[in-house]
């Protein structure tokens, strides 16, 4: 038995490893077809990053992580929140306004802005949740529409609220006072840049996510509703309420996505604020199979690939977009590998049971003969 369990653990680790290898092989194939230097590209991507690179990877992973956790909360409930993009952008904008106005001193100001971001994110996702439970509108569609609406509203409000810096055409909100920034920490005395202090919050969010989903009645209800709606209703769970609540929670976490950048780096919300984080979050949540640790690994992997591919253009004249192909293929191959392994595992179990039964059979026969 322990032999079989060992096999299963090996399979569980083997699946993602195999997926990575296949993804790399496919990427190499594309590079060969394009006539680029395959070895050169992999030497760059798989090289050990310097301190600056590690810091960048951690920072990017922090943001990816929050986005992916937000998506994963929805996934657990069978809800597909494509709207993280709109939710974090409108939340970041409001937080930047609140923090920029500095109604409260120091970190109270930071706290107020974070609360505002969480509330706005939840509210924006809540619209989709409300439409789903009251009017039956698919959240896939409504969140896509809400993304575009958020973009328009933020563009409009940004123009109203913007302070134009002298001689610059970048529109942005007021800078957050320095006392309200979230300080980072450096990875050694010679590091040129800081890791976002917000990474601590991201870890806490991941832990709370795990705790709530796996160790509370609410989490059980959520998973039950996601796994089988009819069974959930039969056991007395108010599925509509669960849909609304999980959408609100997903939006609340989405509201935090922009915060590491806002309080650790940009210090205002401008027209150049990073976008598209929601879609990366979907891929990473899938990659990490909605598990907080898996998501963390996925976020680090995506951030690693992004960072390592950056210099490709200068070094080898290869477009860094090549890693996007890798990332997309990884999402597919990981899932395929898990599925193949699952089927293999089922077959393994069946054959084990069958052989155990066969053994029992012969034992019985033996016993009969004896009698």
């Amino acid at each position: 038995m322990s032999d079989a369990r060992l096999k299963r653990v090996a399979l569980a680790i083997g699946a993602p490893a195999l997926a990575l290898i296949i993804a790399f092989a496919i990427t190499s194939l594309v590079l060969i077809l394009a006539g680029d230097s395959v070895i050169g590209v992999w030497q760059q991507i798989l090289s050990v990053p310097d301190v600056r690179g590690v810091t960048n990877i951690l920072n990017a992973a922090t943001v990816y992580y929050l986005s992916a956790v937000s998506v994963a909360i929805g996934f657990r409930m069978n809800l597909f929140n494509i709207g993280v993009d709109g939710q974090y952008r409108i939340a970041s904008f409001v937080a930047a306004i609140v923090a920029g106005e500095a109604w409260l001193p120091g970190y109270l100001n930071t706290l107020l802005a974070l609360v505002a971001a969480v509330l706005v994110g939840a509210l924006w996702a809540g619209i989709a949740g409300l439409l789903r439970v009251t009017r039956g509108v698919s959240e896939v569609i409504s969140t896509i529409m809400l993304n575009a609406i958020a973009t328009a509203i933020v563009a409009y409000l940004l123009r109203k609220a913007a302070v134009d810096a002298e001689g610059s055409n970048i529109t942005a909100t007021k800078d957050i006072p320095e006392g309200s920034w979230i300080p980072g920490f450096s990875l050694g005395s010679d590091a040129p840049n800081d890791v976002y202090g917000f990474i601590v919050v991201a870890v806490v969010v991941g832990f709370v996510y795990w705790l709530v989903i796996n160790r509370t009645r609410f989490g059980f209800d959520l998973r039950a509703s996601g796994a089988s709606e009819s069974a959930a209703i039969a056991s007395g769970i108010d599925v509509k309420r669960m849909v609304l609540v999980s959408m609100l929670l997903s939006g609340a976490v989405a509201g935090l996505v922009g915060m590491p950048i806002l309080f650790g780096d940009a210090h205002n919300y401008g027209s150049t604020f990073q976008s598209g984080l929601g879609f990366a979050g979907i891929a990473i949540a899938l990659l990490g199979r909605n598990h907080p640790v898996g998501i963390a690994l996925g976020a680090l992997l995506f951030a690693f690939l992004d960072e390592q591919a950056n210099p490709l253009q200068i070094l080898l004249d290869v477009s860094p977009d090549i890693v996007k192909i890798t990332q997309g293929v990884i999402v597919l191959t990981v899932v395929i590998a898990y599925e193949v392994v699952r089927r293999y595992g089922v077959r393994l179990e069946q054959s084990l049971v069958a052989s155990a039964l066969a053994d029992d059979d012969t034992d019985d026969k033996g016993a009969e003969v004896k009698v």
Partner: protein
Amino acid sequence: MSVMTSSAGGGTEAPAKKRRITLPVVLLAIAGVFVLLSALRIITGVDELSSSGTLRATLVAAVPIGLAGLGGLWSERAGVVNIGLEGMMILGTFGAGYFGYFYGPWQGVLGAILLGAIGGLLHAVATVLFGVDHIVSGVAVNIIGLGAVQFLAALTFSGVPGGGATQSPGIDDLPAITIAAISDPLGDLEGKNWFVVSDVAALLRALVTDLSVLTLIALSLFVFTYWVLWRTSFGLRLRSCGESPAAAESLGINVIRYKLVAVIASGAFAGLAGGFLAMVASSSFRDGQTGGRGYIGLAAMIFGNWRPGGLLAGAGLFGYTDTLRLRGGGETIHGLLLLVAVLLVLVAIWQLRRGHRIAATVSGVLGVLIGVWFFLSESVPDDLTGMTPYVTTLLVLALASQRLRMPAADGKPYRKGSAG
């Protein structure tokens, strides 16, 4: 066959008093829309609301969305959710750019279809053969499509005269049709600004002036899809795979093969939608050209209740509101506010009569607020006009969504031999 019909009958049993949508109803609805638009044009004085220019632009805006929606329709009718339409469309834009520039416009169309179909093949292999969750695979296709196209575009178009890492040089136009003998008199009629008559003239004029051949092909594909999916045994079998694959299998249908064909066709449609964007809506491939139209096509398909006619209406609505924003800007959209306000108040009265107090209050309050906005302002700010198509879609879905029914086995993984 008898098993199929009885199972389909079982599925639609619930709404017993469901009204059938027949041709006269559709024609009446279209006429109603025209009377409404015409009235709105005369009341608000915004001529752009139904000028032939607006309607022609609407057609160009609606076709790619409709084609993407057709892609979704083929795939979802066979039971495979296709959120990867966006990625397949992106592949299509590049296909059109590459083959259109290096070989010629018709080759560009074929290239767009081919690259889209390759995206469809990827989705088909992952979902149908490997049983990957449809949404997961679709998201992956979107990422791969975008990445591949950005990578390939940088590879092929950098250094080409007139091109760059993110866009192709200009592509030659496909032929366009103008029937001057009909177009010119219709133009005169349109200029008279008569109630309804001028609006119908504008519509006809839009259809006979500078109409790209690809638009015609796209429109005929709607008829083609309807015919194939609802009027042939191939279509019946394909749809049965989306309703109940186990039953289909028990009748000897090769479910796997039908699903593969449907999803690859879906990719081809999405690719053509991308090609249309690159070749008719503009005249070169650009990075980011699709702008989420793949998702909007999916929304239009859901709006259309997984049927080609409804899908066409959804795409038209979306294309129309999008065009209004581009042509008239804030003032035209401002005119539309009145229509929305009146419609919402009507919905409120209707809901009240049915005894739905909350729904009535919500739409009533919204309607009054929008009405107040109309009377207190001269124009809608430019930044906000961008959200018109999205708000419209959301509103329409919120008002109509309960009556929708998707294919029963849509999105469910299927394995050969699982019948039983």
